[in-house]
């Protein structure tokens, strides 16, 4: 069979997948172009444009120069960092325990973890809990409710299962405690999986808008996603809203066009994800494939 020959199917397939690629990427290219387009051209730049008209940094300057936006960025970083740290501590401890076979009551505990996945009590009971714990307007209201994800825990447990038992046994003879086994054996041997799961958690925190939206009313504590939401979803009301005015009128008398600010703040919000993404791709395949096969 002549493998060099390009079949009709290969050509059609190439075209279809190229269309898929373009439709996934084009919106970003256009947003990028709009976010750099000067104030006078902004109202007539086409949705098909991939190059900015009369390029400017005005929107980025206005956004990044406003203390309100800077604070939102810092809040997002803080929530993501602290949240992921707590996630990983809990997930590693739990996954490690569940991956060992010589412990009594493992089944009961696993069922205990799975029940909440089957029944969702809805928004209000969760809201009441946060209210009763007096966590409203505190970062803990955003960080604690998702402190451990059962799905990721099971995934990590499966990855830990591929650690050879003999290594644990040897360490036990040397008198190692569980903490040593976790930090010196389980985690280092499952590095790609641990990093992938940490990245999943981090991205989830970065993308969370709902918990801060309902639990945090003080605009100074909002993360970037809530701010972004003001620009996107509440765009018409946002211009009347206090804190956003400082962005809109960053350049003085006349308000900056919403379209430019919208595209720029979308780009700003997405950039950290784009930075983490290559790392995720690198570890994802090697990290999770081994775990998924055992699942």
């Amino acid at each position: 069979m002549n493998r060099k020959r390009v079949s009709g199917f290969a050509i059609v397939n190439g075209i279809i997948l190229s269309v898929v690629l373009v439709s996934a990427l084009y919106p970003f290219l256009n947003l990028l172009a709009v976010s750099f387009t000067g104030i006078r051209s902004i109202s007539d730049i086409s949705g098909m444009a991939v190059l900015p008209k009369s390029p400017t940094l005005d929107y980025y300057k206005a956004l990044l120069g406003t203390p309100y936006v800077q604070r939102a960025f810092f809040n997002s970083v803080y929530i993501t960092a602290l949240g992921t740290l707590i996630n990983m501590a809990l997930t590693i401890l739990t996954a490690y325990a569940l991956s060992r076979d010589n412990f009594f009551g493992k089944k009961v505990f696993t069922i205990f973890l799975i029940i909440p996945m089957l029944f969702n009590p809805g928004i209000i009971p969760n809201y009441m809990l946060i209210k009763n714990l007096a966590l409203i307007d505190k970062y803990w209201a955003v960080i604690l409710p998702g402190a451990i994800n059962v799905y990721y825990t099971m995934l990590l447990r499966n990855i830990f299962l591929s650690v050879p038992k003999s290594i644990y046994e040897a360490a036990e003879i040397d008198g190692a405690r569980h903490f040593t086994m976790i930090w010196k054996i389980a985690v280092p041997l499952s590095k790609p999986g641990v990093i992938t799961i940490a990245l999943f958690y981090a991205i989830n925190h970065w993308n969370d808008y709902f918990k801060p939206l309902i639990y945090i009313s003080d605009p100074a504590k909002w993360p970037l996603q809530v701010l972004l939401r003001q620009f996107i979803v509440d765009a018409d009301k946002a211009s009347l809203f206090g804190p956003l005015q400082s962005v809109l009128y960053a350049q003085g008398e006349s308000a900056l066009p919403f379209r430019g600010l919208q595209s720029a703040i979308i780009i700003i919000t997405v950039i950290p994800i784009l930075l983490l993404y290559p790392l995720l791709l690198r570890y994802f395949t090697s990290g999770l494939v081994s775990g998924a096969e055992k699942g």
């Binding site: 199917f9 290969a10 397939n13 997948l17 898929v20 690629l21 439709s23 996934a24 990427l25 084009y26 919106p27 256009n30 730049i45 949705g47 098909m48 501590a89 809990l90 401890l93 739990t94 490690y96 325990a97 010589n102 412990f103 009594f104 009551g105 205990f112 973890l113 799975i114 909440p116 089957l118 029944f119 969702n120 009590p121 809805g122 928004i123 209000i124 009971p125 969760n126 809201y127 009441m128 809990l129 409710p145 451990i148 405690r177 569980h178 991205i203 970065w206 993308n207 808008y209 709902f210 996603q225 972004l228 939401r229 979803v233 919208q262 997405v270 994800i273 993404y277 791709l281 998924a292």
Partner: protein
């Protein structure tokens, strides 16, 4: 088992229990307390003083409310549309990507199509508002080229559910194809080798080897999707919905949010959530039973 044996085994496992304490505490506070909290659906909420038991009063109210039925039917319609239109796409995508010969192109396509999954619905709403804008939006610019008048997709009741389906595909089709890619990787290459020797064409190989192997995964995913049928996609609808499309877009979750957190009618909204959660629970049990009978791998 004698109780002393149990005690001895518990004692031997004691260090594991220490490791599990943080998760245990977390689950009790943040999952089991809210589960118990659904009792609010049977109580009249009072800001000061104790709540008063009212039985099924809020459920009677619920089942008499046209807005609730609208939310229920929207949930079922949107879920159904998503299942119908988005379900096959990851399968096709996985097969197409798998057929690519160039390793480099394959890698590029995969990296790009997985990406939207990692964007928040706020960002995706921003993207869709931009490309669907009746003024200068990408899609309407393209429609203009073939002589079609601009369509205000985001604010048109006629088109909004379509927007939900398409944006769901844009976000998830790539990521969801991973499962099928994994299934494809598990196919024994010798099967193809043997088929080639027997003179099977590429299409025949796909038809008689690839598709049957994928079918198992498809059935499992389909059954799981049915289990989550009551969730039509809160984050998506919550962000994309606006006043002009509320009639076709308001789902149970957005309805519960509005009643509960905006109108502060806590008990009624808890009843809405409990109704949804209970149906969801039943669906999961039923579909899991079917999955087990089908031998397609179940949740537990």
């Amino acid at each position: 088992m004698r109780s002393s044996t149990i005690l001895r085994r518990v004692y031997k496992s004691r260090y594991y229990y220490f490791l599990l304490i943080p998760a245990l505490v977390y689950f009790i506070i943040f999952h089991y307390v809210p589960i118990a909290g659904v009792s609010l659906a049977f109580q009249k909420y009072r800001l000061f003083g104790g709540n008063q038991w009212v039985g099924f009063q809020y459920f009677t109210e619920l089942f008499g409310s046209p807005t609730f039925y609208r939310a229920l039917s929207n949930t079922l319609i949107i879920s159904g549309m998503k299942l119908l239109f988005t379900f096959p796409i990851p399968v096709v995508l996985a097969i197409l990507i798998n057929e690519v010969r160039s390793k480099r192109f394959k890698k590029v396509v995969r990296s790009v199509v997985y990406l939207p999954h990692f964007l928040s619905w706020v960002v995706i709403t921003g993207i869709f508002v931009t490309i669907l804008s009746p003024v200068n939006g990408l899609v309407n610019e393209l429609l203009k080229l073939i002589g079609i008048q601009p369509i205000p997709f985001m604010t048109s009741s006629e088109h909004f559910r379509g927007v939900l389906v398409v944006s769901e595909i844009w976000r998830s089709a790539g990521w969801d194809s991973i499962l099928y890619t994994a299934a494809l990787m598990n196919i024994n290459p010798q099967l193809y080798e043997a088929a080639r020797i027997d003179g099977a064409s590429r299409w025949q190989q796909t038809r008689y080897i690839t598709v049957p192997e994928l079918l198992r995964t498809m059935i499992t995913v389909f059954i799981l999707n049915i289990g989550f049928f009551m969730n039509a996609g809160f984050d998506q609808v919550f962000n994309m919905m606006n006043d002009s499309v509320i009639g076709v877009a308001d789902i149970i979750d957005t309805y519960a949010y509005r009643i509960g957190l905006l109108q502060m009618n806590f008990s009624y909204a808890t009843a809405v959530g409990l109704f949804q959660g209970a149906i969801g629970l039943i669906l999961i049990f039923v579909t899991n039973r079917i999955a087990r009978k089908n031998d397609t791998g179940s949740l537990w």
